[in-house]
Symmetry: D3
Subunit: 259 residues, 6 copies
């Protein structure tokens, strides 16, 4: 199966880190492709950046969704996830969502740790959106200095380990989630330093994408994720406009049957 | 005080309806200015359209926020509201938010009625985001046909009245909110047909904007709506880029002190 | 419009403080009248005092409601608010309610600070009654000494500022509400000392009253705030008895039509 | 032990019905005394009547509390319960509260049935106050006609049985609570007509009062039900004024030690 | 009335402590009989031990339920309570459940203290099962050393008192529950050391059992505690097998009518 | 990786159905082994049966856990899941849990359908235990007749499809979960008859087990799923006794290091 790892951040080095963490976890037959945003910000770290990145995510999906069986939205916080799920037909998984749902099997309450306080505020919205507040022990966010975003985990391992232990000891977390794409692949190195299981969101997300492709769910024709009716647009990126206007559907109708 | 009524939809006729409903409600000294989105969709009616419109809202705000004391985000569902509140310094009010909070003073549980089922799904997210689910009796959405968006209320008055009565009789709503900008100004005509108070969101929003300007709250320097640190951007509309990069702040620093 | 600022406390000096804080906030055309309780306690500070004060509030309303377009119930904690809303036809707003609802537009979670622990317990009930617990970061109450109730803010400004900062730093409040009528008008002086917006409840309440008068909601004929059927009474204050017995309605029926 | 059955309604016939239902349930050694309100309304059936009755309850308690080991507040809806618990030292139990807590041992979700819709609204507040909403399947209220309040159960047995069955079949109640003092003693007659357990609130309340007297809890010196500090009063009934002003305490201090 | 105090722990000394604490609290005419588990663990202190003990509880009940009017399940945490309530016809009360429900009449929020951290985890599940989280200030568990389980209270009185005070001062508990059967009878000795009421769960449970026998509820024929249909079994203890297979019912059908 | 599909029911035909549904979903390299309970009931369908089956699950796990990398607890309702997670070191997944968590990625609210009302009651407890009530649209349970448990899906396909459609149309479910092991493998056949995605719990559970083995979480040394201290036992199955007494750990200590 073909899974797109869509990074709505502009930093390709982070996309490569995500792929490096994800590939060993993928099942035989799973093919992972990375895609990095061509516009936006180097690293999404606030609600306003996530609002913009979510719109960019829809643009990227509109251009690429027909080439994949599922998509991993590879920014913790999942910008654009619910809108994408409504607009497109294939399974789309968020890293934050997959990490939280998976963490629920490893503890009664998960803690999330991350490296800027602004991200912590945004992540709290994410927990609430998924109505998982009763399973969340808290979010530990501290604004840590780093030379560049792809170096956070190398430079701040000790601080991340400390935040993780505080999540356990102070907040009562039974399991820790490393929030933020730049922490991908770090869970193993922290294993001996934190007394509870640690979830690496990109691994959880890729496995959840595999699960959904295996379940092969039909596109909802009813309920909250059924596709909105066609709508005219103006000034949007062409593939996204076509998707919203249901033009791509017409085009596909000429081609051999899909889905 | 100067209040911007920012309509992230592209239909100027709806902006005019909003202003027509709002002006009689405004206090002496309140000056209302309408602004209609130059790109996007004629009428936002789904989560995906709201994701895009929310980003467009930030673009519009970045260009215009310095000319106003407060902004009413004039699409029920409030696309981009929390991100905007984080990114800008002046009070920004959503129509859905203001309508729900005001309705809380008129009943223990409010009902929302609207004219497409897709909007109902999106509005449910909005109720949850504001954690007002315990005050919401339900959302009554039915996909009603209409000739053009600015004619919904004229053509479907009877159906909207019927949905409102169902909200009271079946869902137990103590107060009804007319969801969707195209229903602006309709509350008065329904008054005799519905046995509970009706809230017109644009009126609630303009009054809440006046309230906040009067309170003159300082911009948060702590907590969830403090401004994110400066961040480089690429490929964004220039004023929005400047705001995210804190360039507009520098520019202002040359001028006489603001705030 | 005529708004009654009904103080169910017996301290007229506090009523004057409330009016002094409210008047600059009122819109052109809003006329504020103060009314101080003639019996009860100098300052309501517990559930039992609030139970009694709520009954006195109903007596005061029964006597005066026909002369006003709306009422602000000017004791934080809102004694008698829901009963009053059921029994009378005009909009009635509580200071605590208006402050919390307004604070919801300035932060995800509000903190309340006050100057006696007993009041804190009562305020917690109030938060729960409005089902706003998910928006409340906490209540910071400390029993502060003061010479007389109208001097609390002058004498204890530093302690109130400190409690406000603790609400932000320890509880995670995004916005602070100054709980208790004797703190009316204090928000401005604390502005520089607290890093988040501060809500002055009397200002929020007067503006919300203006909003409701502008919306001109009909009296509910269904739902939770419809008027109870007539009931005989014994031993109650005459105007309140008349209201409960629906006698004032009969009397009004002889006069030219009201509302 | 001496238990006061305090009926804040003015209808002595209802007090007698309550005692008649309670006496067979009382343990050996429990002495029940009835007390009927001397002012107020014949039967409390709304929030506004409950506000007034709650204040009258405090007056009655101030006069009589020293002669009893515990008090049953014998109006379903429990007017004045939390204030009373704060102000007095002996255990005070509400009929609604005791019925709900007891019902929790007989089903996962209880239903409440009652005979006026206005009472249903008030009872909903009561469920919320006790934060038992997650245990409540719903409140079934229908405004039934009756000749006088003490005849409701005789005249409307069939309608009450029907509401009870609807609570089970439609709302999913596992256990039914008969809400309203005039239904005291009716549970036995409905037993064969309703397929789940039925709770008679006065029985539950008297037994809970016995439980608390047996536990002999100390008066809280901390937390939400510790006694408020002394406060001057004006225009209140003398015994209540003395209690609030801590004058009765002084008086007692002259007598041999109590409590 | 005959009440079985069923201790699913194997330590008979604890059963005797429970009876000693319960007997003075029982009403005239209440006969308490103790029963100690013949297999399992000396003292249940974790979820896994509770899973096993709950099955043993069902075995014990199947053998003895016909000889009693009600059963107190005398292990805090209530192993097997909901299953038992479904399978048997007489009232069955859990110590944790009765303690929490009773505590709700003594404070807005209760705290639970106990002497091993593993028990604290299990108790949290219990609070959640009863959906009483909104009434729970927290669980204070510390793993205290002791010579044998029946000596915990004698040896660790000071530590238990300290935990109780922390529940009040740090967690904000209004009332304290002593969690764990080995603390039965200890409440009186702590009374002077803790500033809020203390609930002894065995007392609360015996009184609640008396309440239910007095209410004489019918066995549910609908809802969540109606008896499951007959089912074949293999390898279960004979009386339990007979109960599940509805064989005991057949046997009873030959005897004079029961219930 | 080796995954044990542990069926705590005694019907081997159901185990085979589970394996048949699971095997096509398993990744390359995943080896699934079935295990059917040797005692208990043919099919668990109530809380009391689940209590017993949960204890039997622990016995089965104690005997077999060292031979597997993870366990799927293959009875919807997950009897013994949380206790097992505490007592053993490898990942253990429940079918109900995995189905619900996976369904959360396909809709905002899931519906569960099943074929006996008693199971519906038990499943509701399960939803609550996982604190996923806010994501659950409802449980649709109807007691359907069938010749034998392994024939339910063949004989009652139409009724299950109808319940599924009711879950969507009446309850508002966005995704449907087929509750109960005997419905394993049925999702595909219902696909065209139900307008939303359908989750087959055994597929979700096997994929989640693969996910957890891939994540390779450490055994918790802190928090709610750390292993309870050693405890003596009496009368339990030998391997379970050894696990609780930490004897198997000692035995392992003599062998070459494990985990």
């Amino acid at each position: 199966m073909r899974i797109l790892v869509l990074n709505p951040n502009m930093t390709d080095a982070v996309t490569q880190m995500l792929l490096a963490a994800a590939r060993p976890a993928a099942a035989v037959g799973t093919e992972l492709t990375g895609l990095t945003a061509a516009r936006g910000v180097p690293y999404i770290a606030s609600r306003s950046e996530a609002q913009i990145a979510g719109a960019i995510t829809l643009e990227m999906l509109a251009e690429h969704h027909r080439d994949y069986d599922a998509v991993v939205l590879a920014a913790f916080g999942d910008p654009g996830l619910l809108p994408a799920r409504e607009l497109f037909d294939i399974p789309i998984i968020g890293m934050a969502e997959a990490a939280m749902l998976t963490a629920c099997t490893l503890g009664q309450r998960f803690g999330i740790v991350t490296f800027t306080t602004t991200m912590g505020n945004w992540y709290q919205d994410t927990v609430d959106t998924y109505r998982l507040g009763a399973r969340c022990a808290g979010i530990r966010a501290r604004s840590l200095a780093f030379s560049s975003i792809e170096n956070v985990q190398a430079e701040r391992e000790q601080a991340i380990a400390e935040l993780s232990r505080e999540a356990v000891e102070i907040d009562g977390a039974d399991v820790v989630i490393l929030g933020g794409a730049p922490l991908a692949g770090m869970a193993g190195r922290l294993r001996a330093q934190v007394p509870v299981p640690i979830v690496d969101p990109i691994v959880a997300a890729v496995k959840m994408a595999e699960t959904l492709v295996t379940l092969a769910p039909r596109k909802a024709q009813a309920g909250t994720f059924s596709r909105p009716p066609a709508k005219p647009t103006h000034g949007l990126a062409a593939p996204l406009a076509a998707r919203i206007e249901h033009l791509d559907e017409n085009r596909v109708a000429l081609a051999p049957a899909a889905q």
